[in-house]
Amino acid sequence: MSTPPPGLTRDQIAERAAQDIADGSYVNLGIGMPELIAQYVPEGREIVLHTENGLLGMGPAPAPDAVDPELINAGKKPVTANPGAAYFHHADSFAMVRGGHLDLCVLGAMEVAANGDLANWSTGQSDAIPAVGGAMDLVSGVRVVRVMTTHCTRDGTPKLVEKCTYPLTGAGVVSRIYTDLAVVDVTPEGFAAVEIAPGWSFDEVAARTDAPLRDARPGAVATNRGGSEPRSTRSSR
């Protein structure tokens, strides 16, 4: 196949993902790439970030001379607390998660399957140190689960697959995927590309996707787009 231009940068993916976060949302951003999303929340929107180690209203990293080792995020990095923040213990924190009080989480992925299955916690290799953290809790409890990831691994292996080969984090949980190459919804009929990165063609992205990909962009054949659930005005939780 031809060699297309580079896809979106990590910051550009984050910026795109941030566009879809409604004003007033309570959001958990996974460790790593998804953390970048916080920097791109569109002006005029206020979101409240949850970090599962006991803080709602997480703010940006502090100045180096203002680090408090007892104010960290789930990635164990120093953060700050915004006005309106609250601290709580771990059982209360996961009551928020499991109880469906968070509107959205955006997580990293090792694999996402066409049925929404997510694998992001274990390679299943025997010498790996098993570690799951809060990933399984987030995918089972948060109302909308999205993924931010590179479309393929560094060696070119697609991460969007027909069926996950790695151990699952959750079954049928992901509704939308932001990658360097596309925005892909998980629909009852499988993957549907709703946007393609500049300079890329649908076919080039489909070729790097290890499961059928429908073209669901505006102007393409009408499709059943998932992943952009309207928020109720009655309940913000």
Binding site: D23, V48, L56, G57, G84, A86, F88, A95, R234
Partner: protein, 236 residues
Amino acid sequence: MIDKRVASAAEAVAEIADGETVMIGGFGEAGSPIELVHALIDQGASDLTVISNNAGNGQVGLAALIRCGRVAKIVGSYPRSSNSTVFADDYRAGRIELELVPQGTLAERIRAGGAGIPAFYTPTGAATELADGKEQRSFDGVPHVLEHALRADWALIKAGAADWHGNLLFNKTARNFGPIMAMAAQTTVVQAATVGAPGSLDPETVVTPGIFVNRVVHIADPAQEFDLVAQGAHYP
């Protein structure tokens, strides 16, 4: 911009619909969200299921809601009252249904509803008639009962202080069911004596984080059900 303030108790409860389930905070007369309940009386919704530890006091608040014939069922632990016969009269006449739940089981079922736990085992009530018809199971040789989560369409609760995000502080033993009901309802409405900007509450002392709250009504000088009952007040 996150601002959960609404202008009035009437506006805050306007959408409560016939047949819905409403949690109402308070233990005895402490923590009773009396202005919200009176707004619900004015509003007219009927055939309600009310989850509340008690069944009201005197002739105001929840007792008045029952007296107005708007409550089809109470889920609570202690609907008997020394100062009100409203529930008792309706109950004896078969006009209101009661699901009696041990108080700690009631609290835990509400918390479970808020925490995404559909069911849990508890030793409370095992080998009593309140366990009749419930699934039972032994753990370490001790009988336990399977209890299911309680959720509601609405929670009406009273806080001492709130901010625009819905972070809440409570006052003394008026805290009681407020924090857990806030977690377990689709829409949580709070009346608070003070409502400040974000940052007005110390994040270390927040009891209910704003994520559990949808609407905040400023009731600067709330009536105490305790006083209304002592005065023999009637509502409406």
